[in-house]
């Protein structure tokens, strides 16, 4: 290696050291913690306890683990599908330039910069059972006769937190997909036009294949973020009512912040990582196959 090339290696060193301290080393410790007795309220015994933390999490008497898994599934799948569909629609709408497009984009993209927790609080206020705007609008439009306790009724709570998360996540997909759409070569559409292909045909045989790599990478990244993102639920319901919005990441927070049981919290973290790893592996292998077919 030349002397000049060695400089680039040195430039990477600080970042790698910092990331090791910030992520890699703590992750390794977190994995070990998951197999240890570690409750801050009782630190006299922090011995290894095998799978006891995992057993305690799965067999929790307060909330069924199956319920948590189902909640997590609905939270992730519901948010992701709606964020993607609406974000893609918005990107398609913004594709052709129009007057004031830049300003319009600011107005529909700004949510990206806001704090998830504050967004949770805002939506908790919008969904308020007595003085919330959502109830007021639905009453005025005659869609409902009586106010609904969106966040106090287990039937509506999950739907409500998903609506808030969809609102928060549309800009991400719209921004990413808009960039991808704008890189589709125009000649492709022109030659399709010449060959007499209709708009729908053009959409499915040019647009979709062209932006597919972006769709694959954004949906994968977003799945991980939503799965690891308790902020909105924390601000709105903190898992309630009656655990109807308790997801894995919310359960992890509660183990750490309310029960001070770091061992069980870490165990949930390990469960999340195992799920995400298998998901990413499965997703990428299926995605690369389908790309080849197209």
């Amino acid at each position: 290696m030349t002397k000049r090339n060695r400089v680039f290696v040195w430039m990477l060193l600080p970042a790698l050291v910092l990331l090791s301290l910030r992520i890699y080393l703590p992750v390794a410790q977190g994995f070990l913690l998951a197999f240890r007795q570690y409750n801050v309220l009782n630190l006299s015994d922090t011995s290894f306890n095998g799978l006891a933390n995992f057993r305690a999490v799965v067999l929790d008497a307060n909330v069924s683990f199956l319920r948590i898994l189902l909640n997590t599934f609905f939270w992730v799948a519901g948010s992701l599908v709606l964020q993607f569909l609406l974000g893609f629609t918005l990107a398609l709408l913004l594709r052709q330039p129009f007057r004031g497009r830049g300003l319009y984009a600011s107005c529909v993209f700004y949510a990206w910069a806001l704090s998830g927790f504050a967004i949770g609080l805002v939506w908790a206020w919008l969904f308020n059972g007595q003085f919330g705007l959502v109830n007021d609008v639905l009453l005025r439009l005659g869609i409902i006769r009586h106010q609904i306790g969106f966040l106090s009724n287990p039937r509506f709570a999950m739907m409500s937190v998903i609506v808030a998360n969809v609102w928060y996540g549309i800009p991400f997909f719209a921004i990413m997909l808009l960039a991808a759409l704008q890189s589709v070569p125009r000649e492709l559409y022109e030659s399709a036009e010449v060959e007499g292909a209709g708009k729908a045909r053009q959409f499915f045989s040019i647009t979709i294949p062209y932006v597919l790599p972006t769709i694959v990478s954004t949906t994968l990244l977003r799945t991980m973020w939503i799965m690891n993102f308790p902020d909105i639920i924390y601000g709105m319901t903190d898992g309630g009512p009656v655990n109807s919005t308790t997801t894995l990441s919310i359960q992890m927070i509660n183990k750490v912040f309310q029960e001070y049981d770091y061992g069980q919290g870490a165990a949930i973290g390990v469960i999340i990582m195992v799920i995400l790893f298998s998901y990413a592996f499965f997703y990428l292998s299926v995605a690369s196959k389908s790309e080849v077919r197209l």
Partner: protein, 278 residues
């Protein structure tokens, strides 16, 4: 193009754009309006879509009470300084990665950077906390800022893709003139990557300003709290109602809204550059 069809299509588009606009803007409008209402008006039914007597009373209460301006200053300093530090590191490592000569190990490093996006924050939080506790650095804003400034994975990827678009011939000319590699980076390359710099700074600033859970865990002294932590404590404290709460929320949203307003164009470019590639 024929004339009849596009008009229906355009109408549909305009309606859809209007729906998206309303959906996007309403929550922000509503929280701002709430913060400008008198507390009586907040709890009257039917709701007032515009305050009858707009007032800044809620903000007066907010800043008069609970040292809110200290939290605000803490958050601002923390986010701005940590983002500056992170930006600095990201630029150096992103440049190094972009010009990195070895293909295979570069791939490994990139995978390592993407891996950090998969890790649940909470799994890392507890070991970090115990590490800092051993060093007696908990409840310390500088230490928390240092931890924030170490969150550089995504920023490094963003910086790398910005540098990838700058031809190496540019800095080679500077090297021939006798600059060192670092000098070439700061004097020749950086000035042409200003959009990238704005994007990375905004991205980091927004992330640090909004961070809640690490701050809740690490900070406890009243004078050390950040805005999100203060908002979090408002929830549990009885007696804080939606007038002060809404003012607090609006105050907490303002700085990132301003950063987004200024940096939007660059942020959009930066986000798309950063992750589509992987």
């Amino acid at each position: 193009m024929s004339r009849g069809k596009p008009t229906i299509l355009t109408c549909g588009k305009v309606v859809l754009l209007a729906v998206f606009f309303l959906f996007a803007v309403t929550p922000l409008y509503w929280i701002i309006i709430t913060s400008l209402k008198e507390s009586k008006e907040i709890y009257t039914f039917p709701l007032l879509y515009f305050p009858a007597h707009p007032s800044l009373e809620s903000y007066r209460k907010l800043f008069g009470f609970a040292k809110f301006w200290i939290y605000f200053r803490n958050s601002l300093l923390l986010a701005a300084l940590a983002a500056t530090a992170a930006l600095f590191i990201c630029l150096i490592s992103g440049y190094g990665l972009s010009r990195y000569p070895l293909r295979k190990s570069k791939k490994v490093i990139l995978l390592g950077l993407y891996f950090t996006q998969m890790v649940p924050g909470f799994l890392v939080m507890v070991p970090l906390f115990t590490m800092l506790a051993q060093l007696h650095l908990t409840d310390n804003l500088v230490a928390l800022g240092a931890v924030y400034a170490m969150s550089i994975a995504f920023g490094t990827i963003m910086a790398m893709s910005f540098f990838d678009r700058i031809p190496p011939s540019l800095e080679e000319a500077a090297l021939i003139d006798g600059c060192s590699t670092l000098q070439a980076l700061f004097r020749v390359v950086l000035p042409v990557t200003l959009p990238g710099i704005v994007a990375i700074f905004s991205f980091e600033f927004v992330g640090f300003w909004n961070e809640l859970f690490l701050a809740v865990m690490f900070l406890s002294a009243e004078s050390n709290l950040t805005v999100p932590v203060a908002l979090n404590s408002f929830i549990s404290k009885a007696g804080v109602s939606w007038d002060v709460m809404s003012a607090g929320i609006v105050t907490s949203l303002l700085p990132t809204l301003i950063v987004f307003g200024f940096g939007q164009k660059f942020i959009v470019a930066g986000l798309t550059e950063g992750s589509v590639k992987g």
